[in-house]
Point group: C2
Chain length 232, copies 2
């Protein structure tokens, strides 16, 4: 996303973001009405967002009525991977919009309408693979989760701070590869805390399912907070 | 980068791209005048762009007068890693522009002026870690190289096609991790050829230096093509 560059662009960009924020607020009210916990998953291409869902959906079977919105520039590959699970899934591609690098609130609105939020108490939105632009756009999510692969290196929280500052939780993925990397986990943890002292995270391998418990417990806590408050 | 969305935005975005293209053309003429081969390195966060330079610079020692422009949103970490080699390096950060997700031709112009292209016959520009937006912006490069880590999966050429369609070469990095991944290299190669049949690539490990020869040979060929053609 092009932001705050020279002169005339500033007002255009501000206008785009304000219009997006209005729709995001409407989305958030809609999700509150249906009592749906909506989690925006962002991360670099290949960080393992879809793999995380493949590990998470079976772990939540019976405990939640889950839906998935998969965002990509091109292809329906992610929705195909999710469709083997018994959950409703909508693929939205930004290719028709020139290959937009992030989901916007209006795109999410359309996908949510197609998915049907009523009756779902948990919806994952897999954003376009990009650690920069999705962080700039509120889509009305209840929580934002950054998926970060250990293969990406210790320095990513410092180099892409907005994603980590606006995140509620980080899933550090692919820990099964740690024995084969030079990564220093202590430095990565320190960098996360430096960018966002309130940040919680789980260290997992979506592939081996190792460490999933912390992540699942966090989801269940968020779902509890999102429950529709009826007055009877 | 926000592109071709609804109504009024289209003309604004087109204007931004056209203004960028004009400066990119000027950059290209400047690089032709100094006989400098300029390579734009793009790839996801953590694909190994800086590690590739750390492996490449020693391999070119004595064979080229090399400079580096390192682009990031925040930090000078990449320039610090490059500065241990005996090459001039300029770090440019987009944080002052709201954390722009790509380098623009005007940013590259400023960095090139600071670096001083005259006397350099090879300059690497390490773009912001992002597989989407940098592909949309011509910066006047002589060649574009996508760095793709095998940890990112086979499907990335299909999901981020513009980067691979506009690339002259792909460095498939981190092959030392292949024994520990489920990746099918034959599928990755097929997907690269499907998106861009003219594409050449090298399969390397920047960490172990394995497979560097194909990459170095390609650079030397490009450098030969970029030589200043004098008329004496």
């Amino acid at each position: 996303m092009e932001t705050k560059q020279k002169d005339g662009r500033i007002s255009v960009v501000t206008g785009i973001l304000e219009a997006n924020d209005r729709v995001a607020d409407e989305n958030r009210r809609m999700f509150a009405n249906t009592g749906t916990c909506v989690i925006d998953l962002i991360g670099s291409p290949g960080a393992g967002k879809t793999a995380l869902l493949e590990a998470t959906l079976p772990a939540l079977a019976g405990a939640a009525r889950v839906g998935v919105i998969a965002g990509d520039i091109e292809t329906t590959l992610d929705a195909e991977r999710i469709s083997v699970f018994d959950v409703p899934v909508v693929q939205t591609t930004t290719g028709a919009f020139g290959g937009a690098c992030h989901l916007e609130a209006s795109t999410v609105r359309q996908a949510a309408d197609q998915l049907g939020m009523d009756g779902l108490n948990l919806v994952f939105i897999e954003n376009v693979g990009n650690l920069v632009c999705p962080a700039e756009f509120d889509i009305g999510q209840g929580a934002r989760v950054v998926v970060l692969s250990v293969t990406e290196g210790e320095d990513k929280p410092l180099k892409y701070p907005l994603a980590f500052r606006t995140a509620d939780f980080v899933v550090i993925n692919k820990t099964d590869l740690l024995p084969h990397l030079d990564l220093d986990m202590a430095v990565l943890r320190r960098n996360l805390g430096q960018v966002n002292p309130r940040l919680k995270w789980a260290e997992i391998s979506a592939r081996t399912r190792d460490g999933l418990d912390t992540w699942i417990a966090w989801i269940r806590e968020r779902m509890g907070n999102s429950k529709r408050h009826t007055t009877n």
